[in-house]
């Protein structure tokens, strides 16, 4: 189990201390990470490590901007493996990532 490790005060600061903007950004993150997750899964199915790395890169950046450390870390690992052309560990990391994204669905 990986901890989500969300730094809410950082995320709020990033949103210019505006709760509404924070909520919008989280919504956007939920949408975009769902789409990136699908890209990672397709990438694994197609043995396309570049696609996996690119989608993980996108999740990594967005998670970092919103202070969601747990996701940033898993996405960083995924990107690194993908860039090295190594897809072996991706399924394990995917399980972690999906669990964390479920948690994100519930945060406010």
């Amino acid at each position: 189990m990986v901890d989500l490790g969300w730094d809410r005060s950082f995320a709020l600061e990033q949103s210019g201390d505006d709760e509404e903007i924070l909520e919008e950004l989280l919504d956007l993150f939920r949408d975009s990470s769902a789409s990136d997750l699908a890209k990672i899964k397709n990438g694994v199915a197609d043995r396309d490590s570049v696609a996996v790395a690119d989608a993980a890169h996108s999740i990594k950046g967005a998670a970092a901007s919103l202070g969601i450390e747990g996701i940033r870390r898993v996405a960083t690992d995924m990107e690194k493996n993908g860039r090295e052309g190594d897809l072996e560990k991706i399924p394990d990391l995917l399980v972690k990532l999906e669990a964390l994204l479920v948690e994100v669905a519930g945060i406010k």
Binding site: E13, Q14, S15, G16, I21, E24, L25, L28, F29, D31, S32, A34, S35, V50, A53, D54, H57, S58, G61, A62, S65, L66, R83, E84, G85
Partner: protein, 281 residues
Amino acid sequence: MPTAKEIVGKFSELKTLPHVAIKVGKLANNENSTMSDFEEIIKLDPVLVTRLLRLVNSPYFGLVQKIESISKAVVFTGMKQLRNLVAIESLRGMFKGGVEGEFSPQKLWLHSATVAILAEMIAKRIFGQEAEDVFLAGIIHDIGLIVEFQIVGDQLREACLEFKNGKGTIIECEQRCIGTDHSEVGYLLAKGWNLPDEVLKGIKTHHYTEKKKAVSSMGSILQLAEFMAAKMNYWPVPGPIEPLPADLARHVKNMMANYKIIIRDVPQEMEKAKELYAADE
């Protein structure tokens, strides 16, 4: 003959990179920058905001939702991508002007965009690198030609003519007619723009003919991308295609299958990125 430094000095008196581009470059290099830092600087230029949002929402990024603010753009494209878009918008205007002799600024812009896209693909697919800095280097790598075009235009046209007539590489012809060349001039100009060192080194070394840099370095990636762009006829100055240095040629031979896939995918990537390099309306 004027030195590279004098040429750059004169050019800088005429044209400067907008303040906002330099500031954004600085922010993108700093890990502690926040998205509101970007928003604050960029919003001072409403035209830039509109243009950036158009690019962020273009197919190149393939985002699921429409992005309506700069801070959201930072989150979903990343700081370095946003820096690249600001650079594109700032540089686009420098590549204006009609064809004179053998030199066309518009062709050079299209060439730069092609090299940026190819370099990004090579960095990611062949070397497993992150590619934001490589993309920026691709956009800027030939800026020295624009400087020469503006400041020592006659000599540049002469150099281009010599190049076309097979009297040496473009660098050799520039050295003979101008006394310096676009990699040196471009490097000196870009040095004042707060760009990452790797990008500057890439500009400086992208025409090295001897084995002086690693195959996976930015200069080599630019050289590979430029070679492929030339083969695809995206070459700004008509003339013979410069062969790759021996170590890079060997590398391509060994990785031919991977490069063939890149060549297959380039048109699609170019189409996706069309709005990035489309000329001003």
